[in-house]
């Protein structure tokens, strides 16, 4: 990977990686550090990337490894997501709190494939490869993740009742 390619990759994927990191560690500063460490590690291991079209999955894998190395081994205390970090869009404050709480409560083995799907845009097969599990297992986890989120966040909202909006 040459300097120009590296810069293009940074510009293309740093935002997705940041959001993924954010929901992994639920802290903006730790997320930023994690993304920086990820790209630093990627640069050091740049010769391992034969096909630049696979850069995105490669970077997400590095980030997962860095997260495990830095935060899980050191047992860094995870703080809850700050509600102010979450874009307001069409959600009411109450709904945002419900959804953020639900995401924070969601077990990691459900949350991670969901984040990879939504933030990474990966297919079930790609997620399976990244997580080292079967595609069927991924689809099951995604189904259960959404069910759990709807159950936790939606119990008091209108999703279940009216389909809302």
């Amino acid at each position: 990977m040459k300097q120009n390619s590296y810069e293009m990759i940074v510009r293309a994927y740093s935002a997705d990686l940041f959001r993924f990191a954010y929901w992994m560690c639920r802290n903006r500063w730790q997320a930023e550090d994690l993304v920086q460490e990820t790209f630093a590690a990627a640069w050091r291991a740049r010769d391992a990337l034969r096909d630049e079209s696979a850069a995105k999955a490669w970077l997400f894998s590095i980030l997962r490894n860095e997260h495990a190395r830095i935060y899980q081994r050191k047992r860094v205390e995870i703080t809850d997501t700050e509600i102010d970090d979450i874009p307001e869009a069409s959600l009411s404050g109450h709904e945002r709190v419900e959804l953020v709480d639900a995401l924070n409560t969601l077990p990691e083995h459900f949350r991670e494939p969901l984040l990879l799907q939504i933030l990474g845009g990966f297919s079930g097969r790609e997620i399976a490869k990244t997580l080292g599990i079967s595609e069927q297992n991924v689809m099951t986890r995604l189904t259960r993740a959404r069910q759990a989120l709807q159950r936790m966040a939606g119990e008091q909202s209108e999703y279940r009742n009216t389909g809302r909006r």
Binding site: Q3, Y6, E7, V10, R11, S14, A15, F18, R19, Y22, W23, R28, E32, V35, Q36, F39, A40, W43, R44, D85, I86, P87, A89, S90, L91, E95, R96, L99, V100, L103, L115, Q117, I118, L119, G124, V138, M139, T140, L142, T143, R146, Q147, L149, Q150, G154, Y159, R160, G163, R164, R165
Partner: protein
């Protein structure tokens, strides 16, 4: 496709738009309603997960490219250590030694030759006030004040009191800041100086002889108390 399969597929991959999925949604009103609910939920989920990205993140990463990890993890403490070392060196070098500290009081007295031995009218409580302004309490007079002035000693606004005691004349120089103690009189330029450390700084006594300086020091200590 049955409803259960349809819903499982939609929950796992809401964007799935295969022919079977589309057909089932068209034919099953309940699953169509389920899909609408799921789409609303999915929209909120996307919005919630798309937190704003730190400004300039990509540029920061690019700027850091190729910097070795040891540098990133150690540069800050190393830089801090260098700054502290340089600051300590500069401070140490800029701090006068005891010798030069004593000398600056003598130099100040030498810079004002006309006031030594002169008798001008001063406020009766001048010494008491001067000591009070320096955190001291004068318990009894130990001499006659001949001159009081605010002077610059070593770059610091200080109080110069010229006093006549039964042990002789002396300059009392009350310099805030650095606290130093010189009990054994040092002689510079024909003047003897002792320095008493007090909470707010240093009180120097400059007299004609070491004996006078020591005696007047004893008078000062016996007649006053200094607090922070």
């Amino acid at each position: 496709m049955d409803c259960l399969t349809y819903r499982r597929i939609k929950l796992a991959a809401p964007q799935d738009a295969s022919h079977e999925i589309i057909v089932h949604a068209r034919e099953c009103r309940e699953c169509a309603a389920f899909t609408r609910q799921l789409e609303a939920f999915e929209q909120d989920l996307h919005t919630t997960l798309h937190v704003p990205v730190s400004e300039g993140l990509a540029e920061k990463i690019i700027l850091r490219r190729g910097r070795p990890q040891w540098f990133r993890t150690t540069w800050l403490p190393v830089a801090a250590a260098i700054v502290i070392a340089v600051a300590a060196l500069v401070t140490f070098n800029s701090l006068p030694s005891h010798n030069s500290f004593a000398l600056q009081f003598v130099n100040h007295v030498l810079s004002e030759p006309n006031i030594v031995g002169t008798n001008v009218e001063v406020e009766p409580n001048a010494l008491k006030l001067a000591f009070a302004n320096f955190g001291g309490q004068l318990q009894r007079d130990f001499g006659e004040v001949q001159y009081v002035n605010q002077c610059n000693i070593g770059g610091v606004d200080s109080t110069h009191v010229q006093i006549s005691t039964h042990s002789g004349n002396a300059a009392l120089l009350l310099r805030p800041g650095r606290r130093a103690s010189i009990d054994t009189p040092e002689v510079h330029e024909g003047h003897a100086v002792v320095v008493v450390s007090v909470p707010r700084g240093s009180l120097a006594i400059v007299a004609a002889t070491p004996q006078q300086a020591s005696e007047i020091r004893s008078l000062v200590l016996a007649s006053s108390e200094f607090h922070g």
